[in-house]
């Protein structure tokens, strides 16, 4: 019975299942319920398309282009008139500005156009003329001139004005430029300089904060073209005050509002608190205080504020003193919250702004969680080269104009001029100021702007050309303005809002940890955009003007305040629809794709932003639970029919900034889309930056290991650029046979690391061997080194100038000195010199040999007659440059050229080729560094059944504590790749699967685990363990023993103290420091101590007079005028020096001698 029932039940279930399946078929076509949801394959192809137009270094270039093409004109317009105090009729007006093509500054050059590479070689600045169009008064007529050069602007490489833009590989090769070089930097005085991206708090936004004492305050950094200032609305003992730098005391908020014309207490209360009784209770205290102060009218309030205003300098210069209240009104209108503009004394918008700030404070006082997070990436702005240069240019331009004005005044002051005054000549004279200003700022990195009292150092850095990756990594670097010494962890911590925008792995260790960040792969940084169209659009879409509303209306439950770039625009009662409509306009391309809009539910507000410096990234739009990007789009993309911008135009993807991202529901994968989803990620691995993108399987590693690799990848020796052999850099490291990694990532292909790699695929055996592999040391195979593994070249530049001196004499080159008897004999020291006094190219140069035989005139200052025949006046002394290194080198290149100021410049490049030696540093791509501990003969190496012996043996103890599983998978994938004859992928959050790799291994007759049967090369018997054996990509790091090792027995001493010099470069001694001294004292090794501290250092024999205790000499005391009782003794020279220094200060140290024994 029961069994029958069971059977029936089973049949039932089966039939119902069938029915369900039928149902499903009807719904989803032929697909079953359990079939995977189809997702768009190869979405990642959007990434290279993106990198073509944006990303990586494009933000630098975009920003610079914006500055040169748009911002310059704005700056000119803001400072367009130069007037004279002397002649009221005179004026000079700038009507236009334009930057020309990069040109050689030489006056008589035939072909003016030049390339960045010429600038690098000749120590020039890659720059172009700035031309302005002017209109000015000459006598009685108005003169217009076009194209007046006022200075030179350094040009960013690959920007719109650079000669390299739009050139194909062939043309770039002709210009000695690498097609993979990203550009985005400047060449100033021959040095490549990067203007680092600067991280700052956003401008013109209210930020509620709690200070150290626990008081809530809302602060705004107002930034306009004219000024930058900070305004706070903060609490003190429960009361709210307005704080500003130009006002010496905190002003009660109600007084401030009254001064701005809001005299009614009720109006104030409503504007701050709406109808909410809780807020009113909290706020009423302030009203009370104001009335206690007996301030009821605007005039009273202004008088009060006026008395607190710090006296501005203007009052003295103009001489006319205005009443304090007027001054207060002006300060409130123009200085306090400068970004909220006051037109025709209409303070209404500013009142509302202050009220909103106050409300935020009140809210935060009641609810602690409404305090803003300062470290939230959405509250940050990134300042790029363009913005920094525009600040600098405006400053320089203002200085230029004021200098010009002074000169004009000076000329116009003269009562009778012989010539009609033409300002044109003056314009040309001052050109150098702007040019020099730019060059100074970029080459020193000091941005000092008088206007904003800005004094920032370290804005620019020399582009590190250690490897391609280090150069690329530098272009994506973001430096923060925070002090490094502060001990707060907040700014250093990984912020969740960093996701996809800033790389979570790439940050330095140590003091700058977390403060220096790097951009992720798909990040873009916005530039400023026009506000007016957005204002119009907002009003069209139903925003009500804020000036027309009363307090209670502002804070109704469904009413949302609308902000545009931090300024209050108005309110909307249908926030969702409004935002949706706005976004629709953006997706349709009616407004810029970089405008962001989001709803803040905490503050019942809608924020629209179009300001520059916001971090944003593209995402795929999801509609009705489906990704808008379909497979056919990707097919078209692959076929080249669609570009990235077309995807934007079609509304398939859009840019979201951090704030809008936080207001969206973003699915990581297409299969994770839920009904609420608004977007889906393009590819998850884009959360990493370019440098972290090199790591295969980073998602299997312990996170600090990835961070270590990010630091080490920049020190790896490899190829630098296609033009590496044409460069003459101070120090260049090149690998002789670089290889692309067996296990690649998609990032590697996209940034071109496979074309400019820095490392080699070493066959690694993970085993213990010889005991010389402890502490991460590596065992290297000698035969591998013989065959070229890890071989690298070090090229060093040695440069000199042939100077011309004021007296007309100049340096010269001399041929090698001739032997008096036989002219064919050349001293060994001068052996490599050519007839021109410079080493010939290709010569092998030994330490101590001369490569530039320079001679300098003995007399460089006093005048020598032009026709003087006096040989002593023209005597030269030798100033040869000799090669100092531990290893012989080869003269690689010699360059002789002239600099900008016509001095002859000689550069010699000397090359060393090094094979790895004991102590050289290597690292895999997983933060696993190690030095070479021993080099073993090939026949001693263990070998596998196929006769393969490893290049590198790595100790397995490197694994358990480091947990770099990614490295193991890299080995496995690499081995599978080698066996199958194809490259494998280790892309983050994806890549070749271990299972597939194992299958390939099995198919090729290897163990699935990657472990091989290995025979010892020493005994010839099998090893009793299977050895993890396969290729791993190893990088050779720039730290090599040859550059570090140092020892000394005897050597140079410092002149003053006669103690040994310090440091390797001066062949210095190794110091026995105080702690070592303490040890010796503790041990009682007094004689050793004496030897180390005196005998081997600065021992000195003195003669002491036993009578007076002073030092004498040669057995004679000059003080006692006698030779009686003179004793000889040995003291450190430093001690003798001290006695004499004391004597020179009128302190007499006397020695009292006693017999010890």
């Amino acid at each position: 019975m029961i069994s029958k029932n069971l059977e029936e039940a089973k049949a039932d279930v089966k039939s119902s299942l069938k029915e369900a399946q039928k149902h499903a078929e009807a719904l989803f076509g032929s697909k079953g319920l359990t079939d995977p949801i189809p997702s768009v394959e190869d979405k990642w192809k959007l990434l290279p398309a993106f990198l073509k137009v944006k990303g990586l270094v494009k933000q630098h270039i975009d920003s610079f282009n914006y500055f040169i093409n748009v911002d310059l004109e704005k700056i000119i317009k803001a400072n367009e008139r130069v007037k004279s105090d002397v002649d009221p009729h005179f004026y000079l007006k700038y009507t236009g500005i334009r930057v020309g093509a990069p040109e050689r500054p030489d006056q008589e050059a035939m072909n003016k156009s030049y390339t960045p590479h010429e600038c690098r070689l000749r120590d020039l600045t890659y720059s172009a003329n700035i031309y302005v169009d002017v209109e000015y008064v000459r006598g009685r007529q108005i003169v217009r001139r076009k194209g007046v050069p006022i200075g030179r602007m350094p040009i960013m490489l690959r920007s719109s004005h650079c000669v390299l833009t739009g050139k194909n590989e062939m043309e770039l090769a002709k210009m000695n430029e690498c097609p993979l070089d990203p550009g985005g930097y400047f060449v100033v005085k021959g040095v490549e300089k990067v203007i680092l991206v600067q991280e700052q708090m956003s401008k013109n936004r209210i930020l509620v904060d709690v200070d150290r004492k626990g008081f809530v305050q809302a602060g705004v950094t107002s930034s306009t073209m004219e000024r930058k200032s900070k305004t706070y609305v903060g609490t003190k003992h429960g009361k709210i005050y307005l704080k500003h730098n130009s006002i010496s005391e905190d002003i009660p908020i109600v007084v401030a509002l009254k001064a701005m014309g809001m005299q009614s207490d009720k109006e104030i209360t409503q504007l701050v608190c709406g109808q909410d009784s809780k807020y009113i209770d909290k706020f009423s205290l302030n009203l009370e205080e104001c009335s206690k102060m007996k301030i009821f009218t605007q005039q009273q309030a202004l008088d009060y504020i006026g008395s607190k205003i710090k006296s501005p300098k203007r009052a003295f210069t103009t001489g006319i003193r205005r009443p304090p209240s007027e001054e207060a009104l002006e300060v409130l209108a123009t200085v306090v919250l400068a970004h909220v503009e006051v037109h025709d004394n209409n303070f209404r918008p500013k009142c509302i702004y202050v009220a909103v700030m106050t409300r935020r404070v009140v809210m935060a006082m009641l609810r602690g969680d409404l305090v803003d997070d300062r470290d939230y990436v959405g509250n940050k702005r990134l300042e790029l080269a363009g913005q920094l240069l525009s600040l600098l240019f405006e400053d320089l331009f203002k200085k230029f104009n004021s200098d010009l004005k002074m000169n004009i005044d000076k000329v116009l002051k003269k009562p009778n001029r012989t010539q009609e005054f033409d300002v044109y000549s003056q314009l040309l004279i001052h050109g150098d100021h702007i040019t020099a200003g730019f060059v100074r700022a970029i080459s020193s990195g000091n941005w000092s702007l008088k206007r904003f009292k800005m004094e920032r150092a370290g804005i620019t850095q020399v582009l590190s050309r250690l490897s391609f990756i280090s150069a690329l990594g530098m272009m994506t670097r973001i430096s923060s303005q925070f002090e490094k010494t502060r001990k707060v962890s907040g700014p250093r911590a990984l912020q969740p809002s960093q996701w996809g925008m800033l790389c979570p792995s790439d940050t330095p260790e140590g003091e700058a940890c977390g403060l220096v960040k790097n951009l992720a792969l798909m990040t873009h940084i916005t530039v400023d955009d026009e506000e007016e169209p957005l204002v119009k659009l907002a009003f069209i879409l139903g925003v009500e003007d804020v000036s027309l509303l009363t307090g209670p209306e502002l804070y109704l439950p469904d009413t949302f305040l609308v902000f545009l770039n931090g300024n209050i625009l108005g309110i909307t009662r249908h926030s969702k629809q409004f935002v949706a409509a706005f976004r629709r306009m953006r997706r349709a391309g009616r407004i810029s794709e970089f405008v962001s809009i989001f709803i803040s539910d905490h503050h019942n507000s809608v924020h629209i932003s179009c300001d520059g410096g916001r971090i944003c990234r593209p995402l795929i739009i999801v509609e009705n639970g489906k990704s808008r990007v379909k497979s056919e789009h990707i097919v078209q993309l692959s076929a080249g029919k669609l570009a990235f911008d077309d995807f934007l135009r079609l509304g398939l993807i859009e840019y979201l900034d951090v704030n809008e991202e936080s207001d969206s529901n973003i699915a990581l994968y297409e299969r994770e889309i839920i009904p609420q989803s608004t977007h889906v990620e393009i590819e998850p691995f884009t959360i990493l930056g370019a440098v972290a993108g090199l790591i295969p399987y980073p998602h299997h590693n312990q996170s600090p290991r990835n961070t270590y690799q990010c630091a080490m990848g920049k020190q790896a020796i490899g190829a630098i650029g296609y033009n590496q052999f044409n460069r003459i850099d101070t120090l260049l490291y090149l690998m002789v046979y670089p290889q692309q990694p067996m296990v690649k990532t998609k990032t590697i292909e996209m940034i071109g690391y496979d074309k400019l790699p820095a490392g080699q695929n070493a066959t690694v055996a993970v085993m213990s061997n010889s005991g010389y592999d402890i502490e991460d040391a590596l065992v290297l195979n000698k035969a591998s080194l013989d065959r070229g593994y890890g071989r690298c070249q070090v090229l060093r530049k040695y440069a000199t100038l042939l100077r011309q001196y004021p007296n007309g004499s100049y340096d010269r080159l001399a041929d090698p000195p001739v032997h008096p008897d036989d002219p064919s004999i050349v001293q060994d020291k001068f052996d490599v010199l050519d007839k021109d006094g410079i080493a010939s190219v290709g010569e092998r140069i030994k330490p101590g040999q001369v490569y530039i035989n320079k001679q300098m005139p003995t007399n460089t200052s006093s005048d020598i007659g032009v026709n003087s025949r006096d040989p002593t006046a023209n005597a030269y002394k030798n100033a040869p440059m000799s090669y100092k290194s531990a290893m012989e080198g080869y003269v690689d290149k010699v360059l002789m050229t002239t600099t900008e100021n016509d001095q002859t410049l000689i550069k010699a490049l000397i090359r060393q080729t090094r094979r790895p030696e004991l102590g050289d540093k290597f690292s895999s791509r997983h933060g696993q560094k190690g030095v070479c501990g021993i080099i073993i003969q090939q026949e001693d190496m263990p070998f596998s059944d196929l006769g393969i012996c490893p290049d590198v043996i790595m100790n397995p103890h490197g694994f358990p504590s480091r947990m770099t599983v990614g490295k193991m998978i890299e080995l496995l994938a690499g081995k599978a790749g080698v066996l199958k004859g194809e490259l494998q992928y280790g892309t983050a959050f994806g890549g070749s699967k271990v299972e597939d790799m194992s299958r390939i291994l099995i198919e090729n007759g290897f163990s699935y685990s990657g472990k091989d049967f290995v025979t010892s090369g020493v005994t010839g018997e099998p090893l009793s363990a299977y050895i993890y054996f396969g290729p791993v990509y190893y990088q050779k790091l720039k730290h090599m023993v040859m550059d570090k090792m140092h020892s000394r027995s005897r050597g140079p001493r410092a002149v003053l103290t006669r103690q040994p010099t310090e440091g390797r470069s001066r062949d210095g001694g190794l110091r026995l420091g105080e702690m070592e001294r303490d040890c010796l004292i503790g041990y009682g090794a007094s004689m050793l101590l004496l030897e180390r501290l005196m005998i081997s250092s600065d021992i000195f024999e003195i003669h002491v007079c036993e009578m007076c205790g002073l030092l004498g000499y040669a057995g004679w005391c000059q003080h006692c005028k006698s030779s009686k009782g003179m004793a000889k003794m040995q003291i450190p020279y430093a001690c003798k020096l001290l006695f004499q220094e004391l004597q020179s200060m009128n302190v007499i140290p006397r020695l009292q001698l006693e017999n010890v024994f």
Binding site: F725, V736, K782, A783, D786, R787, G788, R791, Q793, G842, Y890, D892, R911, T913, Q937, Q938, E939, F943, D945, L946, G947, I948, C949, L1001, I1002, G1005, F1006, S1007, Y1008, F1013, T1015, G1017, T1019, G1020, E1021, P1022, L1023, S1024, A1025, Y1026
Partner: protein
């Protein structure tokens, strides 16, 4: 009925003569053939016995490679041959490069390094080692010259992009090294002129106007000093694998068993309509230990390797014929032994 053995237990004969390949370790790796090591077994070395047991059989011989079995010898001796082959059989290789002119992108040191690694076809037995202080003579040095200048090909069409057609000598090959016979070398090596083993090794690439003009000196040396003197790409051996089946593996398991090994190792025979796995050629096994991963074959299969059966592979770089290599290696070992013998005799006599 097939008897079931316990594969976990190893008898003395197995321990003595086999290396046991377990799932995650190798046991019995070291040779234990010493007198009095096992009770009742006299394992003292006996030349006659050795002569009887020792076998060398060539399996494969091609231009560059030889594979042979060496059976009945201790690992230490087999390994000595391997080590000598890699490091101590002398060859001729380029060791001095005199650069007259080199305007190519390959810098002098790298060029010299690349030249050094080119195998030279010259009989090293006909040359002497050259000591550092010795001057070069025709019995210790071979002189080769490389003088190449790249030019535009006047016959190439203007649109040609292939550098091989567009330019003349755009690639410098090892074949461009020209032997410059000194002394009686021309006579001595009449039958076998000295040249690089391969003519198509790329040394450098040139573009019009670039020139390489070097003179190179080859000297005799051994692999221990630099890998360029090693006569072999590699010399290696592996032990003969052995697959033992306990009982029978039948049916689907047999198919699976077969798939655990490379093709040709295991055959499936049908016996009374039942598929049965049979090991036919264990030599082909690569010891991937795949079979040990599956629980169904536990205690049914045992992998071992024959301790004194070496499958030797010598891969010559081409300067010495593969079949001559082992002979020369043996000669080196014999010379060494003779030297030791001499030294021993000298010490004995001096006492």
């Amino acid at each position: 009925m097939v008897t079931q053995k316990d594969f976990k237990h190893n008898d003395i004969e197995t321990l003595r003569s086999r290396v046991i390949v377990e799932r995650d370790r190798v046991t019995s790796t070291a040779s234990t053939d010493y007198p009095h090591n096992y009770p009742g077994l006299d394992l003292a070395f006996d030349l006659e016995k050795f002569k009887e047991n020792f076998k060398v059989k060539i399996n494969r011989l091609s231009k560059n490679e030889i594979e042979f079995d060496m059976v009945g010898i201790d690992a230490a001796i087999a390994n000595a041959f391997r080590r000598i082959l890699i490091a101590e059989v002398p060859t001729m290789a380029i060791s001095q490069v005199f650069v007259m002119n080199n305007t190519s992108v390959v810098v002098d040191e790298v060029l010299a390094h690349r030249l050094g690694l080119i195998p030279i076809l010259a009989d090293p037995t006909k040359f002497d080692f050259k000591a550092k202080e010795e001057t070069s003579t025709d019995i210790n040095t071979i002189v080769l010259r490389l003088n190449i200048r790249c030019k535009r090909n006047p016959n190439a069409s203007a649109t040609e992009t292939d550098p091989l057609k567009k330019y003349i000598h755009s690639t410098v090959y090892s074949g461009d090294l020209i032997w410059d016979p000194k002394g009686d070398q021309a006579e001595k090596f009449k039958d076998c002129p000295i040249k690089p083993v391969y003519d198509d090794i790329v040394i450098a690439k040139l573009r019009p106007g670039q020139e390489i003009d070097v003179e190179v000196h080859c000297e005799k040396g051994i692999g221990q000093d630099h890998a360029k003197w090693s006569p072999v790409a590699t010399a290696t051996y592996r032990l003969l694998p052995e697959i033992l089946i306990n009982g029978e593996i039948v049916g689907e398991d047999a198919v699976k068993f077969q798939s655990c090994f490379p093709e040709g190792v295991v055959d499936i025979v049908e016996e009374n309509g039942v598929k049965k796995a049979k090991v036919v050629n264990p030599r082909k096994d690569t010891v991937s230990r795949e079979v040990l991963r599956y629980p169904e074959f536990e205690n049914k299969v045992k992998l071992t390797r024959v301790r004194d059966h070496f499958i030797f592979t010598i891969e010559s770089v081409g300067s010495i014929e593969p079949q001559d290599l082992l002979v020369q290696a043996v000669q080196v070992l014999m010379d060494k032994c003779a030297q030791v013998k001499r030294a021993l005799q000298a010490t004995l006599q001096s006492d």
